[in-house]
Amino acid sequence: MRVGLFATCVADTMFPDAARATAMILERLGHEVVVPREQTCCGQMHMNAGYRSEALPLAERFVATFGEFDAVVSPSSSCVGAIRELYPQLLAIDPPLLQRTMELSEFLVHRLGVEDVGASYPHRVTYHPTCHSLRVTRIGDAPLRLLRNVKGLELVELPDATECCGFGGTFSIKNAGTSSAILADKCSAIESTDADVCTAVDGSCLLQIGGGLSRRGDRVRAVHLAEILAST
């Protein structure tokens, strides 16, 4: 398959290794991965912050940049969620491209039927299911299926896993106090697993969780799922 890789502005800027890992995994499985250099941002933040008209050109840009691919894969479940759920309202059309846009783990498990990507990662890992992956893109347990097949990986369940991490885009700044209160409970839950690594399918959540763990002096690292799956 000819896959367009949508890195997302967050991954491109803050987690380039996650985007790189995404490309590597797909290539390892024999797919042609193209990284259109004109890509930028899906506009999710603007849409969520009430700046719909500012988001519209970004949505149009995304469609123009990625229109030609068999599939578009991204390391961010929230961006994919915005593209599939919000773009139809924003653009007033629902081009087939939107439903061909998937986050990495749902692409691997639901589209390709692959649960073992030949990865090896000998660490104790806990998984935070992000709100968008749970309730918008509804990827279910796809990441867990993939993690269970990673050699040497000890998967430990996160208590109260489906609780939000508190990021919420501009909410993390505008309502910093509440965002931090929510994060504190998430970090406590992560600490209680005694994991080496907390993983998720969204860079935004990893920024929030990683930032909280770091401030608390925790040794737990926040690592994107793609990086674990690319590891050999």
Binding site: A11, P16, M45
Partner: protein
């Protein structure tokens, strides 16, 4: 309806600092969440019930005038007097007028958010009429407020010793024990006397059946039955959105509501009455149909689904924000996720512009809502309105600048390069501990990851263009 006096972030900051409140709230919401999950999981057709509930409510809104007229006609045929109230003042005036007509200086009341919305108690008090709250929790708040003679911001659940002391000061001077059963007995005895003597009862209604004129009150303690059965006169105030088309529709809502609200298969008492019944219950029934901003909500095609709410509070209990800040942070009778979309629409977005932003958009509320109100969607819709109505120029400028950067790959790369330079003095051991305003809110409580040394797209697309 009164709106918030302060912004949500300000109010939340204060409420988050109350450790006792947070502990109580955390406990309470977690307990009800689990109960709800268990009884919902029991039903194999929960999703089908939600679909029906959602569709029934949409049908009502689509022909609300027709259903209101049908309801009015059925009520009158059943012997009720129907009043229409454009706002809270008109609704309160009906209650006051009825009380005066019967020389009642006290009315007994069932807990009703609608009556809180219209500030019934305070309005009646100004006219020398005492509205006695008969729900256990409301009674406590009322006694406490009267005793302290100032407006309190009470914790949601007082502990038993505090309640014992309050009762000792007010309704039960002889009380000694703080055992819950003893406290409940004290309230029972005190209120029983008032129920038996009451001339006028006041209630809200969970549902009104348009087809038959039936009113429905769902409760646990029995005070609802007392207020709607014992006094010879009853005034029931119902928001115009509370209608359901037919009696049969109750088969859906009487499954959705108890399981969603208290996490029970069925609540202890549900009362359904149709007008006046000879020699049984009140012989004079007044029904007040209340607008008070609901028609304003109805105008908004996306926002009007907020009127579908059946006041179960499931969304409150699953909300990561509400379960930490509590209801007072929202500054409204309607807090939590539903409050964040209903309050601004009832009173105008300019009067509650920060409420739609009091959410991390996690979507748990939408999943929990028994009538499938797409709260996240309405939040985004209202955020757009808030930005247009009250947005700060500096924020708009920043967002436009950002959108302008994102509109060009070249500009994004340049911005990344500039950020790498700008962050150098801020990075210590691979971590940023302090960001300048307006981002300082982040680093008050969290570290920030630095911008990576190289952007992915720039490198990767260059690599892939290189001839093999």
């Amino acid at each position: 309806m009164r709106g918030p006096d302060e912004t949500f972030p300000q109010a939340a900051a204060r409420e988050l600092g109350d450790a006792q409140l947070r502990a109580n709230l955390g406990n309470a919401t977690a307990t009800i969440r689990d109960k709800r999950a268990r009884v919902v999981d029991e039903l194999p057709d929960w999703e089908q019930l939600r679909d029906a509930g959602s569709a029934i409510k949409a049908e009502v809104m689509a022909d609300l005038d027709g259903y209101l007229l049908q309801f009015e006609q059925a009520l009158r045929a059943a012997g009720a007097t129907v009043h229409w109230a454009r706002d809270g003042a008109e609704a309160c005036a009906v209650v006051a007028q009825v009380a005066r007509a019967h020389n009642a200086t006290e009315v007994v009341k069932v807990k009703s958010l609608t009556t809180d919305e219209i500030e019934l108690n305070a309005t009646l008090a100004q006219q020398g009429i005492h509205a006695l709250e008969t729900d256990f929790a409301e009674l406590i708040l009322q006694l406490d407020g009267d005793w302290s003679s100032h407006i309190l911001v009470p914790a949601i659940h007082r502990n038993r010793t505090e309640i014992r002391d309050l009762f000792k000061r007010t309704i039960a001077p002889e009380i000694a024990s703080d055992e819950p059963a003893v406290l409940a007995e004290a309230a029972r005895l005190y209120l029983r006397e008032r129920f038996l003597d009451a001339k006028v009862g006041v209630s809200g209604a969970n549902f009104g059946v348009a087809e038959t004129g039936t009113l429905c009150v769902v409760e646990s303690e029995g005070n609802g039955r007392m207020c709607t059965t014992l006094p010879p006169v009853l005034v029931s105030i119902i928001g115009i959105e509370k209608l359901v088309p037919t009696f049969a529709d109750l088969e859906v809502f009487l499954q959705l509501l108890p399981r969603s609200s208290t996490g029970e298969r069925m609540n202890p008492y549900t009362s359904l009455w149709t007008g006046v019944t000879d020699a049984d219950g009140p012989q004079e029934l007044h029904v007040v149909l209340l607008d008070n901003g609901r028609t304003r909500v109805l105008k908004d095609e996306i926002g009007r689904q907020a009127l579908h709410c059946i006041r179960c509070s499931a969304c409150l209990n699953v909300c990561p924000v509400y379960s930490r800040t509590g209801g007072h942070a929202y500054g409204s009778v309607y807090p939590g996720p539903i409050g964040a979309i209903l309050t601004p629409q009832l009173i105008g977005i300019e009067n509650a512009p920060t409420l739609p932003f009091a959410s991390s958009l996690c979507g748990a509320c939408y999943d929990a809502c028994p009538v499938k109100i797409d709260i996240p969607r309405v939040l985004l819709h209202l955020r757009e309105q808030a930005v247009l109505a009250t947005g700060k120029r500096s924020e708009r400028a920043a967002m436009r600048a950002l959108a302008w950067v994102f509109a060009s790959a070249g500009r994004l790369r340049l911005a990344q390069r500039l950020a790498r330079i700008a962050q150098r003095p801020l990075v210590r051991s691979g971590v940023i501990h302090r960001l300048p305003p307006p981002l300082s809110g982040w680093t008050d409580t969290r570290d920030m990851r630095p911008v990576a040394a190289h952007g992915f797209v720039e490198q990767a697309s260059a690599e892939r263009e290189r001839p093999e």
